[in-house]
Symmetry: C2
Subunit: 406 residues, 2 copies
Amino acid sequence: MAGEIEFVDGGTITTPQGFMAGATYAGLKTFAEDKLDLCVLFSELPCAAAGVFTRSTVRSSTVTVNQERLAQGIPMRGLIVNAGIANTCVGEQGYIDAVEMTRLAALKTGAMPEEVLVCSTGIIGVELPMALIRDGLDQIELHGNGGPDMARAIMTTDTRPKEVAVAFEVDECQIHLGGIAKGSGMIHPNMATMLSFLATDAAVEPAFLQQCLSQVADETYNMLSVDGDSSTNDTVLVMANGAAHNHPISGGTMAGEAFMDALRQVCTHLTRELARDGEGASHLIVVEVDGAASTDDARLAAKTVASSNLVKSAVYGTDPNWGRLMMALGRSGAAAEEEKVDLFINGVCIMEAGKPIPFHRDAVVSLMKQPEVTFRLRLHLGEGEATAWGCDLTEEYVIINSAYTT
Amino acid sequence: MAGEIEFVDGGTITTPQGFMAGATYAGLKTFAEDKLDLCVLFSELPCAAAGVFTRSTVRSSTVTVNQERLAQGIPMRGLIVNAGIANTCVGEQGYIDAVEMTRLAALKTGAMPEEVLVCSTGIIGVELPMALIRDGLDQIELHGNGGPDMARAIMTTDTRPKEVAVAFEVDECQIHLGGIAKGSGMIHPNMATMLSFLATDAAVEPAFLQQCLSQVADETYNMLSVDGDSSTNDTVLVMANGAAHNHPISGGTMAGEAFMDALRQVCTHLTRELARDGEGASHLIVVEVDGAASTDDARLAAKTVASSNLVKSAVYGTDPNWGRLMMALGRSGAAAEEEKVDLFINGVCIMEAGKPIPFHRDAVVSLMKQPEVTFRLRLHLGEGEATAWGCDLTEEYVIINSAYTT
């Protein structure tokens, strides 16, 4: 039976038992102040593992390698990640280097190369300097408190690391689930990449682990938009090593529900942190849609509103501009009937049944000065619900993404 | 037999014979320097007419009225347009006021109300001040040189009017086709609306006229992106009055091809002008895709690249950032194989077969300082071709769309 889910103070990816991590500066990241740029995650115990990946047709070789590794159906042991260079658009060398990174990490940890996953983030069209990676790996020390260093080492234009862990009970076993993520803003000079890595000491049936990750990613990371652009390298990975000695968690059980819920809370937290730290962002935008004709419609509407440049600009200007919300809803493709729509900004109703209602504009403007702005759109057509996360569009975004070359 | 298509110096919507226009300041537009805000187009002769409209589910009552009028299958005579207030999200009053506008224009011109079309653009959620419109209409004088005034009267945040006309011969009759358009940037405080009105003195079979407009709009206006947001009021209308006394033009003929080609040239010109005058824009962006698996794929790829915030920011920064082009291509949904893609910036090849080639960076940066930046993406998969138009993303865009309320 599942207990309550509690957030762990200072929790990170190495909070679960049996995971070690370490990071170093290998010389790949030339643009950031926080210079760690190469890291390894390792589990003494073999792990069930699952992943979700970018849907882009132009993708990093690391994505290909991870998909091949997970398709083997064997337990995983480790993960190696570099930031600074994305290992994308470099022809066949990309695949060769990705495999070589797993081989080097395997040599270091005593795992087999095919038990190691690999991610890269950074500029594209540049080959990985494998000699630097080889030398860097020698300097890495793996330890049970390595999570915070790993969270910093995967950053690119992120202004702060993103990490979290929760604890909960399953069958009288204490379970930990932790994770880290890095920014969905772009990095100098080419790429936006969202990476998130999750670890748990629960034992989880592999097929159920993939099912949980796919479902939760659709509800969280896939509902995040910083600038509407998605990356060649986007990857979420989860590893479950069973160190908590619980009976392996499967679907259709209370334990399964508890695990799914914990995963949802961790991923929601990281998604919010990613949105809040969007490039140039001054506000976190949350768009909640209910009463949509279907879940798909709710997701479409929420994501379209959250990613509209006009809505994002209005939030930056603390402008309760319901016209732009209606415009974005209208073009989203989700079924909507204007005369049924209610709109709320931070809990204040500003439109009812498709017509604006008198509201105290100054009060709503004040509410919008809070760091988080929540729009709720009630469509009154069905049972579909979804939440999307985004950030406002500021001059700073334009400056970050245009000004560095001239 | 069709002759050459020539652009007419100073051409506008009243260049074709038998069209009159007039405009006035009725008091609806409180935010622009150019104060004309109400206008009428009228043809003595009855016109074949056709339209294409926003696909948004939240739409102005004017769109509904126009669709109903065109569905009657009877000739049209006139068009009334106001700028400043969009007549959207005002409940049932919107439809009543739209119909009343056509009635007032009919009274003025001697047409029947059901022979008049109507468009509005401006802020939403505000009812039209019909008394102002009634008074304004009295002041309007219709004349054969009224096109330039009409082009100004439909402007919102546009910095300049957009108008053009071409002349060509069909069956030894001289034909004129003229048009005007207004901005796809947003206006204070709520709306982006693209309106374009076209007139020709050719006689054209009504069904063929609609077919031409639908096809050409898909190739031009529907390939335009200023900020990815589309409007509740977007409308393109064409009226053909037959004053040139040609044999009515139909499909599958040389005359039909000539007419379609003229329409394409007029609409392409106006689309480019709309992109160039996008809010805050400093560059026109043209994205040409060839070798796509299909026309749909080519359009998807071209439009995704042209509307990517990252690509738009890179153009503003005159950054030959091919990584962002590949990213946008990859996420577009169009079939693409990285190892086949060639990329060109203003004619200079920067990537061949999926790998960057050495190019003289400073030279390409210089080329990108020109007011027009053309990206060509060759996919080498099939015969699909398309062009999309957009503009760069600047701090000015963010300022225009955020700063006016605080």
